[in-house]
């Protein structure tokens, strides 16, 4: 392609609205333009990168036996009512009525549609396993669309679905997609990590998120400094502290006045203790009971863990009236001593501690030197807190660390979540009707594109991995008015095209300064500069965008050099 004909509106200045590196560079390099909040147009260069990524995704999905389908965006309300998700999705789903007042949702995901398709066609175990995928536009009315295509309201996803006879087969299907995703992200030039995750609104029994490691990420990843363990923050387990120190001696329980001091910091400061000597007592209500959670003052309760532990579907903080009834006090001064009729769950980290400060269940009063067992009961010790840097790994003895990531893929073992509610069954070899075991697997294609830029850029622009770059080589013709330069450039351009190298020729009548700036900005990995040196010394300057390594080669060696660089890992 000749750049003089390419629709490539680059920007000199950083657009004001863009906070993230990828958002800024996608606008500046002419990959995207905003149409409305969270809604973007892809210009030619951006579309080329999308197509490259899609190509990789298709290859890897087909390699593991997935067949491509194309499902509608417009989805009837009735289907979503069958699965119970019409209400659950709420305002996150765009909803509309057709001219006959029938209600539709714009698909944010396709579990309902594909389960409906499969339940109508699959009859017997002989029709299974079945592996389907699509690459399609999804819609989600995000509360806060931001960061360009990173969190958009209209975006492209690859979603895949597996249908198996047994849970064991479904585990194999899950692992196959897991492996394919590792291949896809590696081929896209990404540093990433698969982390254990919660299943959330999608549901099911097991799930991993694929996280691109990046400071710009909105997700927190907990990972072990020694072994392979990694999970997202909601899911991250914490190993038990091996307490090798001798336990403190128990001191006498003492009631102290703590006037108007409600926060951990206020109480700790007033009583001259560190926050880790305090125990917070927090009350939560589920659909059918009330629990009290005991957490160290310097730690935070992990609601997702607590919900999994209790197996409840509703979980909310108890309001003041309940605290008054149960603990006979106001929030800020409740504590475990003397509590009755409420289950008390203590975090594991309290197991070995002594002489804590706890609320006294009297306004403006705390106890010092409270001890579990002696002064109050605990029904069970559990892992209910949010992991922090330095916590013990649940798998080995090393410490956990905290990092940030961008979720680009998610795999779910759905089990019977949709097949049961939507009656997707099959007849097994014995003629018995059974629920199909499902899995679902997503990759955010447009978000993946932004993530690649987050990891592959510098202060001057993008540095595309060659696998997803819109072109492999950029020929930078410094001065198109110079006949010798021009001839050299066009000759190389034709030679490279003949060799099936994807080449962009900057044949614009722009200043060399603008050309070099644009070259750095759009980030084609291999560059050939054709300028004065070509004229005077007969050499082309071949260089790599990433390392700035330069090679001066004779004209006749240029194609060979480019092909050599192109095939480097």
């Amino acid at each position: 392609m000749r750049m003089s004909q390419l629709f490539l509106p680059t920007l000199f200045e950083d657009p004001k609205e863009a906070e993230l590196v990828s958002h800024r560079l996608m606008l500046r390099a002419g990959l995207i333009r905003r149409l409305a909040s969270g809604i973007y147009s892809y210009l030619p260069l951006g579309n080329m990168v999308l197509q490259k990524i899609i190509g990789i995704v298709k290859e890897e999905m087909e390699h593991i036996g997935y067949q491509e389908v194309l499902l509608p965006a417009l989805q009837p309300k009735e289907l979503w009512e069958e699965s119970g998700r019409w209400e659950e999705y709420g305002e996150d789903m765009f909803k509309l009525r057709d001219r006959r007042e029938r209600e539709f949702g714009l698909g944010p995901t396709h579990e309902e549609v594909i389960t409906d398709l499969v339940r109508r066609e699959v009859r017997s175990y002989r029709d299974l396993p079945l592996f389907l995928y699509q690459i399609q536009t999804k819609f989600r009315d995000e509360m806060r669309p931001r960061f360009g295509v990173m969190r958009g309201r209209e975006f492209i996803m690859k979603d895949a679905y597996s249908f198996d006879c047994t849970s064991q087969d479904a585990d194999i299907s899950y692992q196959n997609v897991y492996n394919a995703y590792c291949q896809i992200f590696a081929r896209c030039g990404l540093r990433f990590r698969a982390v254990e995750a919660d299943t959330g609104l999608i549901g099911g029994s097991r799930s991993h998120e694929f996280m691109v490691l990046a400071d710009a990420g909105e997700d927190i990843i907990v990972s072990c400094t020694a072994c392979n363990y990694a999970a997202n923050l909601q899911k991250a387990e914490i190993g038990e502290e091996k307490d090798r120190a001798e336990k403190e001696k128990m001191d006498d329980l003492t009631l102290v006045e703590t006037p108007n001091m409600k926060t951990v910091e206020e109480v700790a400061h007033f009583l001259h203790v560190t926050p880790n000597k305090l125990i917070k007592t927090l009350f939560y209500e589920t659909e059918d009971r009330l629990v009290g959670c005991l957490i160290r003052g310097d730690q935070q309760l992990n609601l997702a863990k607590l919900q999994r532990l209790l197996g409840c579907s509703i979980l909310r903080m108890a309001d003041e009236s309940i605290i008054r009834r149960v603990a006979n006090t106001i929030p800020g001064f409740s504590g475990p001593i003397g509590l009755q009729d409420v289950q008390l769950i203590a975090d594991n980290s309290l197991r070995n501690g002594r002489n804590f400060v706890v609320g006294a269940n009297k306004p403006n009063m705390h106890y010092m030197n409270a001890n579990i067992g002696r002064d109050f009961r605990v029904d069970t010790f559990q892992d209910i807190r949010i992991a922090t840097s330095g916590d013990p790994c649940p798998r080995c003895e090393a410490k956990l660390k905290i990092g940030k990531g961008i979720e680009v893929g998610h795999v779910f073992k759905l089990d019977k979540k949709y097949s049961r509610s939507m009656k997707a069954t099959f007849l097994d070899e014995d003629g018995k009707e059974k629920d199909i075991i499902m899995g679902c697997y997503g990759i955010g294609i447009t978000r993946l594109m932004a993530s690649i830029i987050e990891q592959n850029s510098d202060e001057l622009g993008i540095i595309w991995p060659i696998s997803v770059s819109p072109y492999e080589v950029l020929i930078l013709l410094v001065n198109i008015q110079d006949k010798i330069q021009k001839e050299g450039a066009f000759e190389l351009y034709e030679d490279l095209k003949k060799e099936k190298v994807e080449v962009l020729l900057d044949d614009r009548e722009e200043s060399p300064g603008k050309k070099f700036k644009d070259a750095d900005l759009i980030g084609i990995p291999i560059r050939v500069v054709i300028g004065k040196r070509m004229k005077e010394e007969g050499v082309f300057e071949v260089s790599l965008r990433r390392t700035r390594e330069r090679f001066l080669v004779k004209k006749e060696e240029a194609v060979g050099k480019v092909k050599e660089l192109k095939s480097l890992p």
Copy 2:
């Protein structure tokens, strides 16, 4: 691909809801399934055909210099208000509100979005011409969705847009796309015709529809039996009849009673004349005037022609109160004699006639032997009627004929229709600000797929042109339990794959009858049967789905024969 693993649910019986051949066969051959009225899922085989068609379209668009972009489906109301089409589209557009109550339409087309994009980026004549296209899902809330994907509510289109400096350049762009479309439809194996068409809701100055010739078509094509002239019914012009016969003598004007006879047939029958001796007098209102149209009793008024002639944007039949005021009578008995204050437009076919029957502007009365000039005035003779078979061609002396077609493509010269209302301008070489001259060009990809089947099928199933067939070759392994047959089939399967032939192997444990039926139904153009003859005589039976031609070849010649047949035109 092995058929035992392909998701290909074929149906024995014709689905009740399907009227059209293509609709029936797409359901039966497992290409599509219905999700809701006018909304379909594409199964693997259907998706493969779509991808093949898209591949052809992309090649031809890129060949004429078009760059691919991807524009959003969600489009803000404000943009459509700028062009004035928010109201114009009415209920045909799906409309919705986001969580912040902002209004959006689901794009039925993208003139507004692309004009907005281009007006922000294009500054100077040096940025032009610009040629962009996309392949994307469109939404249209059809009043009567039907015929499967032929008239769906969610469908795939290729839409392209040209931006030029001058009207002459825009004509060249128009012609380039016109030529590319001819290439695309020819490569898809279609018999088609480009016909002159109205610009309708899209607007502009010039337009052609590409019509696939098929009895199932909903569009009527008027074409010349001798020259190249073709147009759709709204647009079709009619040449002037060369009247070589002597004119009749004028008889005396006679008032006759025609009690309660209002229709042409009633009056003609009662007065013993043929309907072509009657003149209908029809009143129409525009935004600023009233006109009377005179049409022969056996002919029909063409409203689109009348509207173009009058240059009005509103055109509706005058209601009874107006007829009473102007003609002092009731509908059915109005006529041209004595009419004042209203322009009278007569169709060209009345120019040479004599002794007509006309309404007398009195209830239950007609005049016989009314003559133009002697008894009433006509302000102008024009071509305002609907063409019928046998009418003279407007370009040559031959006769027109009427046929049916399916519209699969449409090209428009938009001129300044969008650039002016949306202020898409550029600075020309003199530094003057000018409106960009636009064109837009669409192909209905999903409808194209159905049209291919309308023209390429028989009573047993589809007959894919090889260019769009999901696979090029089907190996029909008659009995997978027979070791020799099985080995032969799998060997050929691997050999063909090595040669990059797209091959489907029917390795299912089904009866031969079912296998042959499915083979005819899904319509892969080349078939290799491996059955008893292979075992007994060592020969493969290679055949063509379309002609049923059969070739018995030795095992080692099979690959060569397939490749030979594959490369046939």
